[in-house]
Symmetry: C2
Subunit: 145 residues, 2 copies
DNA sequence: TAGAATTTTGAGACGGCTTATCAATTTCAA
DNA sequence: TTGAAATTGATAAGCCGTCTCAAAATTCTA
């Protein structure tokens, strides 16, 4: 019985920390919990969100920690406009994105067939996939008119 | 008989200019030709490239013009890392990437079936795809051992 | 073709997002 | 508990892209 529903990610983080001689800190734990509650978030948004309960948490720490999560495979950075979105990898499962270049609207989708083909391509090249990123850019119905 | 192999894009640009009361300038023509020669490029890269022959071309002009091309449907901006890549829309030969998280090796691939499925997903959501980005992250044969 | 109206250009200032710096603090292995 | 090493927070610095504005170029009109 896990102590928390985020035990899996917590383990992944601790394993990464151990492997790189990094330390487990109050801030990292705090940010991890806040991060795992969302599907995706920007550093700035998380800063404001956490400021309510932890007003002394620095913005730089949030950036550093979210980038750490990316290294640990818990988060994935996605650049949109001038900002960076940090996606919760476990939350999104295997959701990919349709992004409207007109209005910025984002539609999530999932397609098993595509995933299967990805596996085939990877296998053919001797790779074992850990994660992937698929973004389709185009115009949505509204923006086409 | 077209005067240049870029006649189609030139027409698209001129049509857009006319429709918006914009002017056809030496710089716009210059940048269009330089742009169409590549599959994708950043403003900065184009700046350095053109500086050899036109040292007085301003970086701001390049940004403005590449954004103009986006409006005209000739180019398409894509955010990559902290930079903006301007993709040449007319280039169809799009390749995707397999990226080894162990050693950083990048293998390019192309898969028509995946592209077809992408089109289907987009259509189902009312999108018309302009471009896409597909990256598979994993371990290559060597790094798995 | 000349002249006027309008747009564009180039150079640098500016602003937003992210990373670097560094002294003080915290973690953790011994 | 102690001390080496990593982390933090505040802020400076950096980067990328846009804005500003006077001068130049383009287009329109006659």
């Amino acid at each position: 019985m896990p102590l928390s529903k985020y035990a899996k990610e917590m383990d992944a983080l601790k394993e990464h920390l151990a492997k790189h001689q990094l330390k487990f800190t109050r801030q990292r734990e705090l940010i991890l919990h806040a991060f795992l509650r969302q599907e995706h978030i920007t550093a700035e948004a998380m800063y404001h969100q956490l400021a309510k309960t932890d007003p002394h948490l620095g913005l730089a720490t949030i950036y550093r920690t979210l980038n750490l999560f990316c290294d640990a495979g818990i988060a994935q950075a996605r650049h949109f406009g001038s900002q960076t979105q940090y996606d919760n990898v476990s939350h999104k499962g295997h959701h990919d994105h349709l992004i409207c270049t007109g209005c910025g609207r984002i539609v999530e989708f999932e397609n098993c067939e595509i995933e299967k083909l990805q596996e085939e391509v990877a296998a053919r090249n001797g790779f074992s996939i850990q994660t992937h990123r698929l973004e389709l850019y185009g115009l949505c119905t509204r923006c086409r008119h």
